[in-house]
Symmetry: C2
Subunit: 108 residues, 2 copies
Amino acid sequence: MALPGFVYGGLIASLVDCHAIGTAAAAVERAAGRAIGDGPAPRFVTASLHVDYLKPTPLGPELELRARAREVGGRKVVVEVSVSAGGVVTARGEVVAVRMPDTMKGGV
Amino acid sequence: MALPGFVYGGLIASLVDCHAIGTAAAAVERAAGRAIGDGPAPRFVTASLHVDYLKPTPLGPELELRARAREVGGRKVVVEVSVSAGGVVTARGEVVAVRMPDTMKGGV
Protein backbone atom coordinates (compact mmCIF):
# COMPACT_ATOMS: atom_id res chain seq x y z
CA MET A 1 0.00 0.00 0.00
CA ALA A 2 1.37 3.40 -0.95
CA LEU A 3 1.00 6.34 1.42
CA PRO A 4 1.86 9.96 0.67
CA GLY A 5 5.30 10.82 2.02
CA PHE A 6 6.57 7.25 2.25
CA VAL A 7 8.28 4.82 -0.12
CA TYR A 8 5.99 1.99 -1.24
CA GLY A 9 7.00 -1.35 0.31
CA GLY A 10 6.81 -3.13 -3.03
CA LEU A 11 9.40 -0.74 -4.41
CA ILE A 12 11.66 -1.41 -1.43
CA ALA A 13 11.26 -5.15 -2.08
CA SER A 14 12.22 -4.56 -5.72
CA LEU A 15 15.33 -2.58 -4.74
CA VAL A 16 16.37 -5.29 -2.26
CA ASP A 17 15.86 -7.99 -4.89
CA CYS A 18 17.75 -6.13 -7.58
CA HIS A 19 20.70 -5.19 -5.39
CA ALA A 20 20.95 -8.70 -3.98
CA ILE A 21 21.00 -10.36 -7.40
CA GLY A 22 23.80 -8.06 -8.52
CA THR A 23 25.69 -8.75 -5.31
CA ALA A 24 25.30 -12.52 -5.81
CA ALA A 25 26.90 -12.33 -9.24
CA ALA A 26 29.72 -10.11 -7.96
CA ALA A 27 30.36 -12.41 -4.99
CA VAL A 28 30.64 -15.48 -7.21
CA GLU A 29 33.00 -13.68 -9.56
CA ARG A 30 35.11 -12.47 -6.66
CA ALA A 31 35.24 -15.97 -5.16
CA ALA A 32 36.54 -17.20 -8.53
CA GLY A 33 39.22 -14.50 -8.56
CA ARG A 34 37.50 -12.42 -11.23
CA ALA A 35 35.85 -9.00 -11.24
CA ILE A 36 32.50 -8.13 -12.82
CA GLY A 37 33.35 -7.17 -16.38
CA ASP A 38 36.20 -9.68 -16.77
CA GLY A 39 33.85 -12.00 -18.60
CA PRO A 40 30.18 -12.81 -18.96
CA ALA A 41 28.75 -12.41 -15.45
CA PRO A 42 26.97 -15.43 -13.96
CA ARG A 43 23.19 -14.96 -14.11
CA PHE A 44 21.13 -15.41 -10.98
CA VAL A 45 17.41 -15.44 -10.25
CA THR A 46 15.58 -15.01 -6.97
CA ALA A 47 14.54 -18.19 -5.19
CA SER A 48 13.20 -16.35 -2.16
CA LEU A 49 12.94 -12.80 -0.91
CA HIS A 50 12.33 -11.68 2.65
CA VAL A 51 11.98 -8.08 3.77
CA ASP A 52 11.47 -6.76 7.31
CA TYR A 53 10.08 -3.24 7.28
CA LEU A 54 11.56 -1.82 10.47
CA LYS A 55 10.10 1.65 10.13
CA PRO A 56 8.45 3.78 7.47
CA THR A 57 10.90 4.83 4.72
CA PRO A 58 10.50 8.55 4.04
CA LEU A 59 10.13 9.67 0.45
CA GLY A 60 12.74 12.31 -0.34
CA PRO A 61 16.09 11.47 1.26
CA GLU A 62 18.55 9.47 -0.82
CA LEU A 63 18.20 5.75 -0.17
CA GLU A 64 21.32 3.70 0.43
CA LEU A 65 21.39 -0.05 -0.10
CA ARG A 66 24.17 -2.17 1.30
CA ALA A 67 24.45 -5.85 0.56
CA ARG A 68 26.69 -8.63 1.81
CA ALA A 69 26.88 -12.17 0.51
CA ARG A 70 26.59 -14.30 3.65
CA GLU A 71 26.88 -17.64 1.90
CA VAL A 72 28.48 -18.16 -1.49
CA GLY A 73 27.98 -21.51 -3.18
CA GLY A 74 28.34 -22.57 -6.76
CA ARG A 75 24.60 -22.67 -7.33
CA LYS A 76 23.20 -20.65 -4.43
CA VAL A 77 24.14 -17.36 -2.81
CA VAL A 78 22.46 -15.89 0.29
CA VAL A 79 22.59 -12.11 0.44
CA GLU A 80 21.71 -9.75 3.29
CA VAL A 81 20.63 -6.25 2.37
CA SER A 82 19.94 -3.12 4.38
CA VAL A 83 18.02 -0.07 3.18
CA SER A 84 18.79 3.28 4.78
CA ALA A 85 17.22 6.70 4.36
CA GLY A 86 19.26 9.63 5.65
CA GLY A 87 21.54 7.29 7.57
CA VAL A 88 18.70 5.43 9.33
CA VAL A 89 18.14 1.76 8.51
CA THR A 90 14.45 1.40 7.63
CA ALA A 91 14.37 -2.12 6.15
CA ARG A 92 16.42 -5.29 6.11
CA GLY A 93 16.19 -8.03 3.56
CA GLU A 94 17.48 -11.47 2.79
CA VAL A 95 17.55 -12.97 -0.66
CA VAL A 96 18.34 -16.51 -1.73
CA ALA A 97 19.72 -16.25 -5.25
CA VAL A 98 20.23 -19.29 -7.46
CA ARG A 99 21.87 -19.74 -10.83
CA MET A 100 19.47 -19.08 -13.63
CA PRO A 101 17.88 -22.29 -14.92
CA ASP A 102 18.52 -23.02 -18.59
CA THR A 103 14.76 -22.86 -19.22
CA MET A 104 14.85 -19.10 -18.55
CA LYS A 105 17.74 -18.37 -20.88
CA GLY A 106 15.80 -18.66 -24.11
CA GLY A 107 14.94 -15.01 -24.43
CA VAL A 108 18.26 -13.56 -23.27
CA MET B 1 16.07 -8.98 -12.43
CA ALA B 2 13.69 -8.80 -15.36
CA LEU B 3 13.95 -11.33 -18.18
CA PRO B 4 12.04 -11.25 -21.46
CA GLY B 5 8.99 -13.51 -21.27
CA PHE B 6 8.78 -13.63 -17.47
CA VAL B 7 7.16 -11.50 -14.79
CA TYR B 8 9.67 -9.49 -12.75
CA GLY B 9 10.02 -10.85 -9.20
CA GLY B 10 9.73 -7.38 -7.71
CA LEU B 11 6.33 -7.00 -9.35
CA ILE B 12 5.24 -10.36 -7.95
CA ALA B 13 6.37 -9.19 -4.50
CA SER B 14 4.32 -6.00 -4.96
CA LEU B 15 1.22 -7.97 -5.96
CA VAL B 16 1.62 -10.29 -2.96
CA ASP B 17 2.06 -7.31 -0.64
CA CYS B 18 -0.92 -5.41 -2.02
CA HIS B 19 -3.28 -8.38 -2.02
CA ALA B 20 -2.24 -9.39 1.51
CA ILE B 21 -2.82 -5.92 2.94
CA GLY B 22 -6.32 -5.81 1.45
CA THR B 23 -7.01 -9.29 2.79
CA ALA B 24 -5.83 -8.27 6.26
CA ALA B 25 -8.31 -5.40 6.37
CA ALA B 26 -11.12 -7.60 5.07
CA ALA B 27 -10.32 -10.35 7.61
CA VAL B 28 -10.41 -7.92 10.52
CA GLU B 29 -13.71 -6.47 9.32
CA ARG B 30 -15.18 -9.94 8.88
CA ALA B 31 -13.99 -10.99 12.35
CA ALA B 32 -15.82 -7.94 13.71
CA GLY B 33 -18.99 -8.91 11.87
CA ARG B 34 -18.67 -6.17 9.27
CA ALA B 35 -18.00 -6.17 5.54
CA ILE B 36 -15.56 -3.90 3.69
CA GLY B 37 -17.55 -0.79 2.87
CA ASP B 38 -19.67 -0.84 6.03
CA GLY B 39 -17.42 1.79 7.54
CA PRO B 40 -13.91 3.17 7.28
CA ALA B 41 -11.72 0.11 6.67
CA PRO B 42 -8.90 -0.52 9.14
CA ARG B 43 -5.55 0.51 7.64
CA PHE B 44 -2.65 -1.92 7.65
CA VAL B 45 1.00 -1.67 6.70
CA THR B 46 3.51 -4.40 5.94
CA ALA B 47 5.77 -5.48 8.79
CA SER B 48 7.38 -8.26 6.79
CA LEU B 49 7.08 -9.81 3.37
CA HIS B 50 8.34 -13.21 2.29
CA VAL B 51 8.05 -14.63 -1.20
CA ASP B 52 9.18 -18.05 -2.44
CA TYR B 53 9.58 -18.10 -6.20
CA LEU B 54 8.72 -21.71 -7.00
CA LYS B 55 9.09 -21.42 -10.76
CA PRO B 56 9.37 -18.71 -13.39
CA THR B 57 6.07 -16.81 -13.84
CA PRO B 58 5.32 -16.52 -17.56
CA LEU B 59 4.39 -13.10 -18.91
CA GLY B 60 1.07 -13.32 -20.75
CA PRO B 61 -1.39 -15.63 -18.97
CA GLU B 62 -3.73 -14.00 -16.47
CA LEU B 63 -2.30 -14.09 -12.95
CA GLU B 64 -4.50 -15.20 -10.10
CA LEU B 65 -3.76 -14.26 -6.51
CA ARG B 66 -5.43 -16.06 -3.64
CA ALA B 67 -4.95 -14.97 -0.05
CA ARG B 68 -5.99 -16.39 3.28
CA ALA B 69 -5.61 -14.78 6.68
CA ARG B 70 -3.94 -17.46 8.78
CA GLU B 71 -3.86 -15.47 11.99
CA VAL B 72 -6.16 -12.55 12.77
CA GLY B 73 -5.31 -10.40 15.77
CA GLY B 74 -6.35 -6.91 16.71
CA ARG B 75 -3.03 -5.42 15.75
CA LYS B 76 -1.44 -8.10 13.58
CA VAL B 77 -2.70 -10.28 10.74
CA VAL B 78 -0.66 -13.01 9.03
CA VAL B 79 -1.69 -13.63 5.43
CA GLU B 80 -0.68 -16.43 3.07
CA VAL B 81 -0.81 -15.70 -0.65
CA SER B 82 -0.41 -17.82 -3.75
CA VAL B 83 0.28 -16.55 -7.25
CA SER B 84 -0.84 -18.69 -10.19
CA ALA B 85 -0.38 -18.31 -13.91
CA GLY B 86 -2.66 -20.40 -16.11
CA GLY B 87 -3.62 -22.55 -13.14
CA VAL B 88 -0.04 -23.29 -12.06
CA VAL B 89 1.18 -21.92 -8.72
CA THR B 90 4.45 -20.10 -9.43
CA ALA B 91 4.99 -18.23 -6.15
CA ARG B 92 3.87 -18.34 -2.54
CA GLY B 93 4.08 -15.49 -0.10
CA GLU B 94 3.54 -14.68 3.53
CA VAL B 95 2.90 -11.20 4.81
CA VAL B 96 2.77 -9.96 8.39
CA ALA B 97 0.45 -6.95 8.34
CA VAL B 98 0.14 -4.59 11.30
CA ARG B 99 -2.21 -1.71 12.02
CA MET B 100 -0.91 1.52 10.59
CA PRO B 101 1.03 3.52 13.19
CA ASP B 102 -0.39 6.98 13.89
CA THR B 103 2.88 8.53 12.67
CA MET B 104 2.03 7.40 9.13
CA LYS B 105 -1.47 8.80 9.09
CA GLY B 106 -0.50 12.42 8.68
CA GLY B 107 -0.71 12.54 4.93
CA VAL B 108 -3.83 10.42 4.51
